[in-house]
């Protein structure tokens, strides 16, 4: 087996290997992802490295999974709703754990499809994080306040992946990244012809007897459009979006409320973000 050699310096070649190891920082992840889209030799390196790394998995200490895990997997599969055939504009969003990690898909990097503005969106999202958090996120030395940089960056990356995945299925989908005061993306709202739905990214703890309420904010008013629990199960309220607003405009916010009837106004807003 001959080892492909990328036509680049060691730094970039090492970064490609780092991507196969899932060992890049988010900013570099974007840079390498963009490069891979146009560099077949590096994609070959990536694929070979992944195959080599997968072999390393066989060297770990053998561990029996709990017997109940098999049943858990099968039960979860049985309970999983069947995918709706295309067109997918009104298809329900699969739970977030499916979509937020497309980078892990071996095929994703090796067979690039339409160019995606990954880096640009990530930067925009991080900039939005900075604004919402009310802090200067980046300085010359990195993150200066708030939660650990990794938390914010990882959540931003996951949100970006959710959005990218949704856009691949429906280019017209609108989205809002719901950002918490500390700057961590809590969830992404995907808004299309089928209505709004929530894809959790990094949900905060929610005490017993409480639920999250999703509010559509437009025209100076907030309308509760759905509720979701700590695992992200979303239930629409059936209330239409505020009158006098056009689809795709406004923002979304999330409040933490006692379980039961949805209040008329949000009490404790825990995250928000503009609909774009």
């Amino acid at each position: 087996m001959s080892a492909p050699v990328p036509p680049h310096d060691d730094e970039l070649a090492g970064a490609v290997v780092g991507r196969a190891l899932h060992a890049l920082e988010p900013d570099e992840e974007d840079r390498v992802a963009e490069h891979l889209r146009t560099c077949a030799p590096c994609r070959a390196v990536l694929a070979e490295t992944r195959a080599t790394m997968a072999a390393l998995a066989h060297a770990v200490a053998d561990a029996d999974p709990p017997a109940a895990l098999r049943r858990r997997v099968l039960d979860a599969a049985a309970a999983d709703p069947a995918p709706t055939p295309p067109p997918v504009a009104a298809a329900p969003e699969p739970p977030p754990d499916v979509r937020v990690d497309d980078r892990a898909d071996v095929g994703t990097d090796d067979a690039p499809t339409a160019p995606r503005p990954v880096g640009g969106r990530r930067l925009a999202l991080l900039a939005l994080v900075a604004v919402v958090a009310g802090v200067i996120v980046f300085s010359a030395r990195g993150l200066v306040t708030g939660p650990p940089a990794d938390d914010r960056s990882v959540a931003a990356a996951r949100a970006e992946q959710v959005i990218t995945s949704a856009e691949q299925r429906d280019p017209d989908v609108r989205h809002a990244s719901l950002i918490q005061p500390g700057g961590v993306v809590m969830a992404v709202v995907l808004d299309d012809a089928g209505g709004a739905r929530v894809v959790p990214v990094d949900l905060p703890e929610l005490g017993p007897g409480r639920t999250f309420v999703l509010w559509r904010v437009a025209g100076g008013s907030a309308t509760a459009v759905g509720t979701f629990d700590p695992v992200g199960t979303y239930t629409p309220t059936g209330t239409p979006a505020p009158t006098g607003t056009r689809p795709g405009q406004g923002a979304y916010a999330v409040s933490a409320e006692p379980s039961g009837p949805v209040p008329e106004r949000p009490s404790t807003v825990v995250a928000s973000g503009p609909l774009v």
Binding site: A47, A59, V98
Partner: protein
Amino acid sequence: MTPPRAAGPDVLEPALARPAAGAAPAGADVTDADLVARLASRDTGALDLLYARHGRAAYSLARRVCADETLAEDVVQEVFLVLWRDPERFDRTRGTVISWLLTLVHHKAVDAVRREATRRRHHVPTEEPGTDAGSAVPSADRAALGSVIAEHVRAALRHLPSEQRQALGLAYYGGYTQREVASITGVPIGTVKSRMFTGVAKLRVLLAPVLGTSGLDLLGDTW
């Protein structure tokens, strides 16, 4: 060492094990790729077989990276549900199911530990996994081929210069980023990248006998 498993309806086939002579499991003549294709028609039996074949390897890797059994279980469930929901993500022209699956397990496990902020886990796995007590000796239920491959991989790791082995071990088994590896090892990040690239290139050569159709592929697609 993993204790011998008792017989019973819930007992899983070891991921790396081939069936003992005369004990071919149900679906033994079906390839992994064919099983994945059957998932598109919501065939839970196919998913069950895939789990029986690879659930153990998936869990072992997830547990190693996560250093947390609960997290590892979540990762394994998540990975198999990814496969269930979107089997088209696997492209049989680009590799074996087991390689794809383990790559996904690794990524999900790394994401999980980062997300859970437990990445500063209880140990810093700078050593190759073969130095673990218990992993150096093949478990009782691991069949010959799996043992041979595992030992081959461990031997390959031992052949690497220690600094390359450490860099790759921290990233792959520990889930650390290259920048973090640089910080832990006290060398520039460029040096870390160079060590990783060189280390992977050497591993690729050392593992060639098991990376081809004579080795890992056998475990995956020609069960």
